[in-house]
Symmetry: C3
Subunit: 268 residues, 3 copies
């Protein structure tokens, strides 16, 4: 698979520093903002109902994340999402913990019903729960599912008419027609909180500069995974604390050359 679109998206992101509006959870706000800054995007967090529409209008993309949802933040997400739809800004949604409690599952489905989501990203359990498939979940981490993850992504993409990303050992990107598989990344990412949430925001940054959602999303996953691999190579042995810091460093030091060398992406 030709990697030019990945490098082009990355170069565009670096030159445009897109503003990414995040309505996200209180666990990952700092890490998300630092990760977006390190990559070369411009993060903003704003979740007051009084201003989310105004912020969504001026941002290049909107990221919604229900990791620590409250009634107020959900209303803000929907207002922001509808505004983004109206102004043709991509909306990226991370249904953190869907399936863990009825409130999360219902809220995830409500957001998908009321907002036109451009890209939905979750682990297999979350995506399965959103579309009503059987899958086990424990807390906000993916449980062990015996299902076929590629089929799940394709089914969800068709049902929801959106780009669906399921991350795990392999990352699957499906839009109901095409399916791409990214094999970058590193297991130590699961030892740092918010790495999935930051990835969702990074997808937002790429969709802000590249209209082709499959390409933008794939580029995001590759860039994220390549930076993680390099960081794990340098600091992974020291532990998850050191890895987390080095990962921010490597998002900052990412380059077209590194992407060209390390990208592992294929068409399913």
């Amino acid at each position: 698979m030709n990697k030019d679109f990945i490098i082009n998206s990355f170069e565009t992101l670096r030159s445009e520093t897109p503003l990414v509006h995040n309505i996200t959870n209180v666990v990952v706000t700092n890490f998300t903002a630092n990760g977006l800054l390190a990559l070369g995007a411009s993060p903003v967090m704003a979740n007051a109902i009084e201003e989310v529409a105004d912020m969504a209008k001026i941002a290049g993309a909107l990221v919604l994340n229900i990791g620590t949802l409250t009634a107020d933040s959900v209303e803000a997400m929907i207002v922001a999402g509808k505004t983004a739809n109206q102004f043709n800004k991509p909306v990226i949604f991370d249904p953190v913990g869907a399936g863990a409690t009825p409130y999360r599952t219902e809220t995830a489905r409500r957001i998908l019903a009321e907002v036109n989501v451009s890209v939905l990203r979750g682990n297999a359990a979350e995506i399965a729960n959103v579309i009503g498939e059987e899958w086990s979940i424990k807390g906000v981490d993916a449980g062990e599912g015996a299902g076929d993850v590629v089929s799940l992504a394709q089914k969800a993409a068709q049902m929801l008419n959106t780009v669906v990303v399921i991350t795990g050992k392999q990352d699957i990107i499906a839009n109901g027609k095409e399916t791409f598989i990214v094999e970058n990344g590193h297991p130590i990412l699961t030892k740092v909180t918010g790495t999935g949430c930051l990835l969702t925001s990074v997808i937002g940054a790429f969709t802000a500069v590249e209209d082709n959602l499959m390409e933008a999303t794939t580029a995001a996953l590759v860039c994220y995974g390549v930076a993680a691999e390099i960081a794990a190579e340098i600091k992974g042995q020291e532990g998850p604390g050191s890895f987390q810091i080095e990962f921010l460093n490597q998002l900052h030091h990412l380059s077209s050359e590194k992407i060209q060398l390390l990208a592992k992406v294929k068409i399913q």
Copy 2:
């Protein structure tokens, strides 16, 4: 004192990766989640009244922390706490800043009145204020108290009929009958925000896998302190930033051998 129960609890935690439900403050969410992950537990943060009961049911333990309490979060804590009680899940409570403002003191007492708390952890000033003893406090940090900390812990444990942990130069664990003292840890912990809060959540992780509350709590304090000592030895001279990161690394690299070698625990 035989250290086998510490190592057994630690090994069980590592093999079971218990889900710990935290309703905690916005300063320490990220550090708490990363600390629990590094240790080998599975953290979840959820504080919406709509879902806290559902989350408390599926978690192995519930941790309540009033560090940045609001009226809404306090109601959620009480709902979650009562649910945890109903399903026999241990509830660990950290009355951050009790005594600093009347609202914190009253809320701490209200939670202790309405929820059956398994383990109460604080510094001497917080515990004293909760039970109405004289003790000075400045902000959310312990003031200088002339009192006898061991007697304070024992008195609080008897009054509240719970396990009480007072952390400081020495850590005291009392249940009104027995009193254990842990001498692990390092002064640099006081230079990193949220180290007390993370410790409370780590106690939650141990109580999720070990029914004997005195042993679970003692094991938590020893493991935490041993990881801190090793981290301080390696990176303490560099400063609190480097220590914080290395502490996450060392929670991850903790082992039965290190615990056996470094645990300092005695019966009072």
Copy 3:
């Protein structure tokens, strides 16, 4: 310019460990608390309307920051601010993102109208928007403005009758009569989220121990900038992740000797 007042303020801060009450945004709470601790101050975060007045009374300074403002937090800021005024505690205000949305601009002006603010700190775009000057802004970061930043600071100080700090390549401190310029700091600070917010809280810490607001603020900017320069020298090449951690280390290791050697401050 004689640097003695900087060193005196720094030494006083270290010996008094002032309590700084922060009502700040959810992105920077942890970094702010750790930065204040590393410097030698004592941070407390409290934003419940039920307790902010009590906390403001016992703190040495109050810091207000609208980075992730909500209707509730704004009310709490005003109650806390009025209480601080009543008890003659300095109030430091950071109008994060003023100009990015009408809600932020209006809220920033409302706080300035209802609370007697001792020091206002922002980037040029934020300060310009607060006083109704033309300036571009993108998200919460300063846009490119062609204006004369020194004149802007002086004008804002006169209009608002407060000390105004505009940070950027140079840091300007103006009170309508005198204007100081600090040339410490490092560009990598812009790659770490919350460095402006932490600086505002550090100003709070210095005003808690030094009554002369121009001197306290200047001392804060110099100390912050010196620590950043040393951290950038040691770890800047590694990237923003490593810099962030080393910056906390260097706030901790700051000394009068380093300040004497590296302070760059002049009268305009």
